[in-house]
């Protein structure tokens, strides 16, 4: 008999484990491109577990409920995203809302701790949110204009009947792919976590809270990759998803290894340019 809670728990565990292994693979690919052996593939998972049992003290400048709540909210929203995508095949608008809240969490982690590095990252996160949300929103908008629905289940049925959407809406796929690149570690758009501010908004969340953030980020990576494959490559089997996720992770690893980190202005301008080209170009393609 179908048990909804068991389905949710299985999907959350898969999201955590698969996301961690994929992020470890990303780091391995980056290292191999740079002619280094790199860490083992499970390194991300081992780090998450190691941090989980380390000490996490609360500096006197933090606002303690906020400092803890922000980390709980980050996990809550990505558990919601796993439910909306893998269990219910629900609406893309909810995913857009979750992504927006994720940006807010990045911003607020920086400001909740009272650290000067966190505050600087918080300001940079405002820039990045202003450019990444239109990028993701533009991709969903073009998808809506192509298939006239925001429901993931209906998009899957549409693709079963009409073929993969990557051919019908290639610019939407490009915008979604650039969104995935922005979420990758060491990405060209990763200025909020630049080394000049140590680790940006994550600086003051150390120890067990850092392990918790890493767990939520691995679920985020899995959900975004799953969405990309589902929305643009049609109904896939589990093997299809596994191979697709490994391929996307290898491509983002290659991109992260070979590109410099753009400063906030360049990062915002390049993302806005891609959004403009994507949306205007798709509308032009539909009219012509």
């Amino acid at each position: 008999m179908y048990n909804l809670m068991a389905d949710i728990l299985i999907n959350v565990c898969i999201a955590f484990l698969a996301g961690s292994l994929l992020l470890g693979l990303h780091r391995k690919i980056m290292a191999r491109v740079q002619s280094r052996p790199g860490p083992p593939i499970i390194q991300y998972l081992l780090h998450s577990l190691k941090f989980f049992f380390k000490e996490s003290s609360f500096p006197k400048t933090v606002s303690k409920p906020f400092y803890l709540a922000i980390v709980v909210i980050l996990c809550g929203i990505w558990v919601t995203a796993v439910i909306v995508t893998n269990v219910v095949y629900g609406s893309l608008l909810l995913i857009f809302g979750i992504y927006a809240v994720h940006k807010i969490v990045e911003h607020n982690s920086g400001s909740s701790s009272g650290s000067p590095y966190g505050k600087l990252s918080c300001v940079r996160a405002v820039y990045s949110a202003a450019s990444e949300l239109p990028l993701f929103g533009g991709s969903i908008l073009v998808l809506y204009l192509t298939v006239h629905t925001m429901d993931i289940g209906q998009i899957i049925s549409y693709q079963a009947a009409h073929g993969p959407l990557i051919f019908a809406a290639p610019l939407a796929a490009l915008m979604f792919f650039v969104t995935i690149i922005t979420k990758a570690p060491y990405s060209p758009f990763g200025i909020t976590l630049g080394k000049d501010i140590i680790s940006g908004f994550e600086t003051e969340h150390f120890g067990f809270l850092r392990g918790f953030i890493m767990i939520s980020e691995s679920m985020c990576w899995y959900v975004l990759l799953w969405l990309f494959l589902t929305l643009f490559f049609g109904p896939l089997s589990i093997i299809g998803y596994v191979i697709g996720m490994i391929v996307i992770t290898c491509i983002t690893g290659l991109i992260s290894a070979t590109t410099p980190m753009l400063n906030p202005n360049h990062s915002v301008m390049s993302q806005m340019t891609i959004t403009l080209i994507g949306v205007v170009g798709s509308i032009a393609l539909m009219i012509i």
């Binding site: 484990l17 052996p37 860490p39 593939i41 589990i238």
Partner: protein, 114 residues
């Protein structure tokens, strides 16, 4: 319901992969004291790699054991070799993949001819 069972299998494969990777890491750090410098292929690890990749890709040939057990054992051995101390399991993994893919091609062609 069937999707849930498939996802349950996927979760078990992931857990087995992680377990194999941890075992490989522990074993290779005990055995190899220095980082990867000497380029030699170790025979037991090569055998593990070949068996692991063979079981993962060609599970259809062993019909008397349920598929999910075969793939689990295969994935454990694959992760054991893949995730040794960085630099060590590379040649063995590549040889294992090549042999398994060749066997897979031959069995597929044989089935198609028959």
């Amino acid at each position: 319901m069937s999707i849930m069972i498939e996802k349950l299998y996927l979760l078990i494969y992931l857990i087995v992969f992680v377990a194999g990777a941890i075992c490989g890491l522990l074993y290779s750090y005990q055995k190899h004291i220095e980082p990867y410098v000497v380029k030699e292929t170790s025979i037991p690890i090569l055998i593990f790699a070949i068996i692991g990749w063979f079981l993962t890709l060609n599970y259809g040939l062993l019909n008397f054991i349920p598929h999910f057990i075969v793939i689990s054992i295969g994935l454990f051995l694959v992760a054991f070799v893949l995730d040794m101390r960085p630099g060590y399991g590379r040649k063995e993994t590549v040889i294992g993949i090549i042999i398994s893919v060749i066997i897979w091609f031959f069995t597929q062609c044989l089935f198609n001819i028959m």
